[in-house]
C-alpha cells in the first residue's frame, strides 16, 4: 500500500469504531479519520505481517456457519450442565492436523474454537501443524475433526 495508507482495513475499522463510540457527525468523521491515520502510521512502525484477504465474499458465509454452530453448542453445553452427573459423559483431547499456515487465519480459527462452547483450543504446534483441542462431550472424535476442518477450509479460501 502507499505511504499514507499502510493499513487500509485497520484505518477503516478505527474510523468506524470512533463513529460508534461517538455520535455520527461530520466533525467526528474528520477527527476520527485523523486519529485513524495517525494510529495506522504508528502501527506501520511495528511492521506487523500484513494479512491479505483474498475472498471477501466468503466472510459472511463463515460468520453464518460459526453463528449457527455457537447457537447449537450453547444449547448442548447448557443441557450438559443442567443434567449434571445423571448422564454419562466423556470429555477428552482431540489432535487435529491442520494445513492452514496463515497467521491471521490461525488467529481467527482460535477465536472460533474458543468462543464455541464445548471446544477449547489448548495448543498449536507450528512445526508440524498439529492442534490440540479439548472437547467437553466427546462422542465421536471424527465429528469434531470434521467440524474444525470445515472452518479450516473456509479460512484457507479466505486467507490463502
Amino acid at each position: 500500500m502507499n505511504r499514507w495508507l499502510p493499513y487500509p482495513v485497520l484505518t477503516a475499522s478505527l474510523v468506524v469504531m470512533w463513529l460508534l463510540l461517538n455520535r455520527f457527525s461530520l466533525g467526528h468523521l474528520i477527527l476520527g479519520s485523523i486519529i485513524a491515520l495517525g494510529a495506522s502510521q504508528a502501527m506501520s512502525a511495528l511492521q506487523p505481517a500484513q494479512p491479505r484477504v483474498r475472498r471477501w465474499d466468503m466472510i459472511p458465509r463463515l460468520i453464518w456457519v460459526v453463528f449457527v454452530d455457537i447457537c447449537h453448542s450453547n444449547i448442548a453445553v447448557a443441557g450438559i450442565i443442567l443434567k449434571g452427573r445423571r448422564r454419562q459423559r466423556d470429555s477428552g483431547f482431540v489432535t487435529i492436523p491442520l494445513e492452514l499456515r496463515d497467521r491471521t487465519g490461525l488467529a481467527v480459527l482460535a477465536c472460533i474454537v474458543t468462543s464455541t462452547p464445548g471446544t477449547a483450543w489448548l495448543e498449536y504446534h507450528s512445526a508440524n501443524g498439529r492442534l490440540l483441542i479439548h472437547v467437553l462431550d466427546l462422542v465421536n472424535e471424527q465429528d469434531w475433526i470434521d467440524t474444525v476442518k470445515r472452518y479450516e477450509s473456509l479460512l484457507m479460501e479466505i486467507f490463502e
Binding site: 447457537c71 450442565i81 468462543s115 462452547p117 483450543w121
Partner: protein, 128 residues
C-alpha cells in the same frame, strides 16, 4: 433510568426476554464452573457467558437504547468484538500452563509432550 416507561410494551417484552436468556446462560456457565470435575472441563463452562450470555444482554441493550433514543445505538458491537478477540489469549495462557503442569507431573489421560520430529508424528502435507 427515568425514561423506561417510554418503552413500548412489545419492545420491553423482547428486551426482558433477552435479558433473562443472557443472564440465565451466564448463571448456567457459573454453575458449570463449580460442578465440573477437571480443569479442562471447567474451561468450557464460562464460554456460555461470553457467547450467548453476553450476546443476548448486548442485543437487549442495543434494542432498548435504540428505541429510547430513536437512533441506532451500536457501540455494544465493540464490546462483543473485544470479548471474542481477547478470550483466546487468556484461555491459551491458562490451558498451556495446565498442560505443562500435568505433563511434568505425569497425570494420566493428558497427551504427552510432542516434539516436532517425533517418529510417528504426521508431517504436514503427507496425509489427512
Amino acid at each position: 433510568m427515568s425514561h423506561t416507561t417510554d418503552l413500548p410494551a412489545w419492545v420491553a417484552l423482547i428486551v426482558a426476554f433477552l435479558l433473562v436468556l443472557g443472564s440465565g446462560l451466564t448463571l448456567l456457565g457459573a454453575i458449570g464452573l463449580v460442578r465440573f470435575q477437571s480443569f479442562y472441563e471447567r474451561v468450557h463452562a464460562p464460554t456460555l457467558g461470553t457467547t450467548w450470555g453476553a450476546g443476548a444482554i448486548l442485543i437487549a441493550s442495543i434494542i432498548c437504547f435504540s428505541v429510547l433514543q430513536s437512533r441506532p445505538v451500536l457501540h455494544e458491537v465493540l464490546i462483543t468484538i473485544f470479548v471474542v478477540v481477547t478470550t483466546p489469549v487468556t484461555l491459551m495462557l491458562l490451558a498451556r500452563a495446565a498442560l505443562y503442569r500435568d505433563r511434568t507431573e505425569g497425570t494420566p489421560g493428558v497427551p504427552q509432550f510432542e516434539a516436532a520430529g517425533e517418529p510417528g508424528a504426521e508431517r504436514p502435507g503427507t496425509s489427512d
